[in-house]
Amino acid sequence: MNMIQALNSALDIKMAEDPTVLSFGEDAGYFGGVFRVTDKLQQKHGLTRSFDAPISETGIVGAAIGMAAYGLRPVVEIQFADYIYPAYDQIVSEAAKMRYRSGGQFTSPLTIRSPYGGGIFGGQTHSQSPESLFTHIAGLKVVIPSNPYDAKGLLTSAIEDDDPVVFFEPKRLYNGPFDGWHEKPVSPWKAQDLAQVPTGKYVEPIGKARVMKDGGDVTILAYGTMVWVALAGAEHAGVDAEVIDLRTLVPLDIETIEASVKKTGRCVIVHEAPRTSGFGGELSALVQERCFYHLEAPIARVTGWDTPYPHAFEWEYFPGPQRVADALKSVMSGGR
């Protein structure tokens, strides 16, 4: 399966087994979503189970919060993560705080799915990575899969989770892995082990990282599309890197991170989002706090720039394998 099919399969299975699960969003009903993640769910499960919503992110998330408080498990689609900002207040001030502020009387078990990230020539409004705006908020979980197998297992877990989950889907990976070498042909998912997705139900735990590649020299922390860029960057640099796919930013699998950095003594963090106050800053602080005496070089960050996402300069902005390789070489030689 590709990632779209895997996500669709998770939704299909959950909707079939649990009548409290429903799915809606802009174009998400009849048409199945602009990326087709909700394709045929309406035909299979009925008009009231999977339907189109007005172009109103506030309304979509606000209504989903009310539904979740009623006892449903709504899964809403925000068409692009760049459009999540109008819903920000509902997510941050309402869904995230519901259990806490009501002393446990009301909960908000909703899943907010949203395609995110760049590498598709989407310009400023179809390319952003706003995850750190959500990892900063108490009460939210933030999940970002990087392959079809995890996408299905993690989305299933997100739907079953009793907390609100912001589920970012790296849209550059929907149809195939992308290693950042944009001038080279893209391979399909079917060549990858992680595309061997069971048709039945399974779950991948939220809060557990996946070690994508064992290595002894340096730890690379990445998520989403950057997992594949990190792998390509390590190969390009010829460095024996341990590549960790975080999969969940909140809750974070600190044990896996700590064990790896203590083993390798070096750490490179890769994300697409701009550097300042990005999630890499948090990762860097955590690694420094917990692994300082094991570090043999300063922690390096490879990130998007602190500019709006540009259209014509996409490949200068996008953190590609060359920049990862440069960072790895720098870290291996003791830093700048």
Binding site: S56, I65, G66, Y70, E94
Partner: protein
Amino acid sequence: MTIKNTQPLSLRVPEPSGRPGDAPDFSHLQLDPAGVVERPEVSSAPYDMRDHAFRLVRVLDDEGRAVGPWNPKLDPDTLRRGLKAMILTRAFDDRMHRAHRQGKTSFYMKCTGEEAIAVAQGMLLSREDMGFPTYRQQGLLIARGYPLATMMNQIYSNAEDPIKGRQLPIMYSAKDFGFFTISGNLGTQYPQAVGWAMASAYRGDDKIAITWIGDGSTAESDFHSALTFASVYRAPVILNIVNNQWAISSFQGIAGGLETTFASKAIGYGLPALRVDGNDFLAVWAATAWAEERARTNQGATVIELFTYRGAPHSTSDDPSRYRPGDEHEKWPLGDPLERLRQHLTVIGEWSDDQHAEALKDAVEEVRAAAKESEAIGTLGQSRPSVKTMFEEVYATEDWRLVEQRREVGV
């Protein structure tokens, strides 16, 4: 030099009819007399009842008689219960306002002048229905017999605060009483109420939702999103707009109230709208019953503008003498909701001055007893829940960060 043939533009900023020092002026209000607005069939098409968005549904006339087609013909017992709940709400507000002045809490908000709204609607709807209130619907809890001492425990953030010292004093949560957790971010609960109602409809249940928003917050995008969703999905929800004339110091014209009525905003969404005298217990009851029947018979949402006046300051942190005529509330042409219901009950021979005096005394006594109970547990700073609870219920299960941070605090 070139001379332009266009006039310079000028920016208009609306101003209220009176400011501090001015005499109150309500001459601009168009208030229908009691009993004249017709009562449409509950199944009416919104298009056929557009006038109702500009009229004013009133039942009680100046002599305290219930007149016209909207008279809900309530039995005296219900009327007396309503009056007593309003009296109790006001007594509670007065006591808690004083408690703030005495330093027993950080904050309080009264609903003086608006008691009829939450009390009537709280009595009429079931606890199985869900109310998505603002911070001025404490009358809903009081009318339904929620323990006053428990409300005070939250106001004092003491060890028995049902929501463990996490919220501002008046932001109650009471699921079993059909009272959703209140947000301080205004307007956010409007789409949530619609979603809750959609969920009931989706499940084929028979519960409906009711929500309130202030005139000021109708300018929030949440309001417009909610009306779109309510209309599109025909959600069984009652959407109240409490037009109490003031959003802190901004008069209702700043939210668009001079351009049209708040009720009329429903018209563009294809929703039926009623504009109602919010100080008339019977009118509030009748309009809500109309909307309830519409919602329960799967005919969708109704917007109700409740026309009232916020008599008290916005909160204990506000001083209305700085922005409006000092005696404006006393001159409000639609009177005081308690006095009007009292007058009605008296006119129909079901209430006396002695009974009223006794009811006032009973209410003060009930509030005093609750305060004694609550203050024995403690007021703000004297008592509070365990600090450990600060780290609980952020997530369904605690994550390592919270465990570590709790240890850092040493609890």
